[in-house]
Symmetry: C2
Subunit: 211 residues, 2 copies
Amino acid sequence: MKTPVLPPRTIERLSEYRRSLLEYLAGGKPYIFSHELAALHHYTPEQVRRDIMLIGYSSFQRKGYDVKKLIRRIAGILDTPRGINVAVVGFGNLGHAITNYFRGKRSKLNIIASFDNDPGKVGKVTLGVVCYPVQQLHEIIREKRISIAVLTVPPEAAREITARLVYAGIRGILNYTSVPLQVPENVFVESYDFITFLEKAAYFVKLSGER
Amino acid sequence: MKTPVLPPRTIERLSEYRRSLLEYLAGGKPYIFSHELAALHHYTPEQVRRDIMLIGYSSFQRKGYDVKKLIRRIAGILDTPRGINVAVVGFGNLGHAITNYFRGKRSKLNIIASFDNDPGKVGKVTLGVVCYPVQQLHEIIREKRISIAVLTVPPEAAREITARLVYAGIRGILNYTSVPLQVPENVFVESYDFITFLEKAAYFVKLSGER
DNA sequence: TAGATTGTTAATCGATTAACAATC
DNA sequence: TAGATTGTTAATCGATTAACAATC
């Protein structure tokens, strides 16, 4: 079964929808209207309907969407049957925080390794994740079939580690360093820069203060 | 002097440009071509030129842009003369990580307080930032004129803390919890969800593996 | 000068919103 | 039925890319 090509923004929203649908389901209601799902995220009902249209799902008799089936359909889009293995590279505060976010959240995304240079961390199991020395990057990534790396190393190490990740066959990198990364085009990279985010917020706060 | 209204994506890039321009300047070169600046971030030269056009800056004699002047112009857009005070709300791993990112980086964005419930943290100074009990949220935010909050509390606390931040007069929130926030429209909010980001990467990795 | 670079407008691409017929 | 809701197309909005005259 081929995964449909969907707009990136739709993918993000599907991830968000799924989480609130799981919560909603726990509340005991089996159906949800587009305007209800929209309200949970402050999106418009049209947006929600369009996203759901794009994944080819249909509601039953305008009684709202069947929550369980919708969750299953979203899982069909986002999840890989066998799951995807993830490594956190650089196991400092941020690496810990992100690992912690995932504790028992998504069975299909498994953070199964972390890497660090600190001898005090290497060899230990933290939050259920084994910490390996960075020297073993290549070996462990291949062995454990890790396809996504969360990059949280110090900026001066970012480029070298990225080259090694790519060489080891990594398929996706979430870049939390402030360094722009150079990778082959078949590797997915997205960068999340705390300083840029904060400067952006500051700009809009400044702007709104002037008007 | 009024701050020009610029597209959000341009603001993000200006923040990125500034950082690489500062580095570039340290390398001793006083001028930079649009294609050089573009290459540093894997943008196109047209994109860079358009952004620079939007901030009303002009190069001198097609010798490239005067790096110092360009930095100054970007600062005029992004920075507030008196600086902006920032608080980290929830001083766990993520709060520490973000605070650490800022150590001595931007003189105009000052993380001057953190809040937590843990008595082991309250009252201590970590990374140069005093940790206050959450009960003092309102008082400290008003007193210290804090206008931006970095929200890194556990999800179950997110809504209540947000309401209190808004009531205390906060102007911008960077939401690192997975909870969608409800705020008045004059408050800037942007949400950064680690799970969504990772699921998005997983989707595109899955997709590229099928083709 | 010739070649490289810039500033800017027009064209394109992508995402959101509006509109509305069809359905229950 | 009447009212609410859906699925989908068309219109709009926003951002990027292409194109190119002007400049040095």
